[in-house]
Amino acid sequence: MALGTIVLVLLPLFASNYVLSLFILLYAYVALATAWAFFSGATRYISLATAAFFGVGIYALAIAHVYLSIPLSLLAAAVVGFLVAAVVGLSTLRLRGVYFVVFTFGLTELVHQVINWAEIKNRTVTRYIFTDVSNVSIYQTLLAAALLSIVGSWYVSRTRLGFALRAIGEDETVARHTGVNTTMVKILCFAASASVMAFVGAVLALRYSYIDASIAFNNTWSFQVLIAALLGGAGRAWGPAVGAIPLVLLSEYFSGTFPRHFPIALGLCFVVIVYFLPGGITPLILRAYHSFDASRMLRVLRTGRLPEGSELAGRFRAGVARLNGRWKI
């Protein structure tokens, strides 16, 4: 684990610019998906507002970087994301199930339109971002954000707050009756997750030279983040990170070769997750990890024979017998 982190930190020293960009995108997705799962995975309030908070972060940076230094502007973006989500949460978190999904789905469009309207009133349709931040610093910032969000999500899941979140996901009425201040918990965690999203948006905005409302508020972010989190499995803090890797590679591959086919692949991902991987990839990894037995593996490698009575050996023998039956005529 530590070794892997060191390798990732040192990566910019020897990787090309393209690889660096790919990893920047990957960290952005890891941070976003982890933040999404922190709230939505535990409480089962499926939020499609990721793009809204992401875009709020972009705009906050675009406005703040004129007056403040870059680190302060990033911080400001996170704070603005927190506040916006708290206000949104106050009014919407009493919606449950499908209503919540629908509202958060429309929220991106709503914020998009309001900001667009304000910008037109202001006579500034596009905003320019002039910075001299290098790709390497963006890389490092996002790596830190990704790691911190995983560690933070893991840490909180072990505290009383994390327990309260899961209790809300299991049964909100019961949670309320056992003394959990559900409104407070929900708004706090929703806003915390939104502040991470806004921060990631702000960091990525440093790479754009200009922005407008339709660049900042793109619903695709919400869907891809949702898929990454569910593909990985929202039950563990590191699950969404596992899901982000195949998703980023897939989207990179499609946007390069068949941009129009990407929605189809994305849609099939949704269907596959629901029908074949309801808990995501992490349960599969955990099962493989727990059944792994190093000494047995060594014995197999040394003797070159599968141990008697193991399930794999039985299946192997049956397969050989079947092949023999087919070919020995």
């Binding site: 709503l110 339109q113 189809i264 849609g267």
Partner: protein, 290 residues
């Protein structure tokens, strides 16, 4: 006087919203499946109408209904039968089912949208049909909008009569109220739910055809109509047919007046404000019995 014209335009717009939402309310009300790919059938019918009038024979786009409605009916029936029933059997409760259904229908949305993008590109399209002015009660309106409005009223009335006065309709109403009790009195819940779901899809196609005479559409605009339809359904109350039309009219008038009086750039904000207000005041919908 301008205000009156704005109001009339709002009514026509609202008729369109009600029309779009009718099928979704049938699907969500009876089959209890929130179909987020609903707008894709709407857009599919728009495309079929477009190709009917611009194709080699240049036929009347109204004829395309005979193609698009049966296709949408069959596809929705298949979706219910082969994609939704496994989920219904697996789900422990309605909340878990809703979550699964939302994900799967989002997946279908993307698949259909991607197929449309690959085949028909993402360009905006539209055609001109019956776009002649009509003078009515002192205001000027486009005939195609009026046609869609009348179509909305006719379909709502027809649906209402079917639900009220036929055996099939009473079975559907029984399922809407309580699926378990309905199956206890001998209603084949699964069969009728599948039919209601399929009929909802056919209504989506019918509304798409009627609306396509005066809007421009592209492969990616289906989602907007799903969202509008959802807002109307939730405002009306799940399973209320005539309420759907009334809620659509209300939304259209509020949007039209709001756009005129406040700012035309804020129509979505006005929509959502109304939607939130309804959800906070009457979460079960405006047209339900308390």
């Amino acid at each position: 006087m301008i205000l009156f014209e704005v109001f009339l335009n709002g009514l026509l717009l609202g008729g369109m919203y009600g029309l779009i939402a009718l099928g979704l309310n049938l699907q969500y009300g009876v089959a209890r499946i929130l179909n987020l790919a609903y707008g894709e059938f709407f857009i599919g019918a728009c495309f079929i109408a477009f190709f009917t009038i611009t194709g080699p024979w240049q036929l009347n786009p109204l004829l395309s209904l005979f193609v698009s409605a049966p296709i949408a009916f069959a596809m929705n029936w298949l979706i219910y039968q082969y994609l939704m029933i496994p989920l219904i059997q697996r789900a422990p409760d309605q909340d878990a089912l809703d979550a699964d259904v939302v994900l799967v229908t989002f997946g279908l949305l993307f698949v259909f949208q991607g197929l449309a993008l690959v085949n028909w590109s993402g360009d905006l399209r539209g055609y001109s049909f019956l776009s002649v002015p009509v003078h009515l009660v002192g205001a000027i309106m486009a005939l195609n909008r009026l046609l869609a409005f009348l179509g909305a009223c006719a379909l709502a009335v027809a649906l209402f009569l079917v639900l009220r006065h036929t055996r099939f309709g009473s079975a559907l109403r029984a399922i809407t109220i309580d699926p378990v009790a309905a199956s206890l009195v001998g209603v084949d819940v699964r069969k009728f739910s599948a039919l209601a779901f399929a009929a909802g899809g056919a209504l989506a196609a019918a509304s798409g055809m009627l609306v396509s005479t005066f809007i421009s559409f592209s492969s990616t605009t289906g989602v907007e109509y799903t969202l509008k339809a959802l807002i109307v359904v939730i405002m009306a109350g799940v399973g209320r047919v005539t309420g759907t039309l009334a809620a659509g009219l209300l939304l259209g008038v509020v949007e039209s007046l709001g756009g005129y009086l406040v700012d035309p750039g804020l129509t979505i904000a006005i929509n959502f404000a109304l939607f939130m207000l309804v959800l906070l005041v009457r979460p079960t919908g405006l047209f339900t019995r308390a």
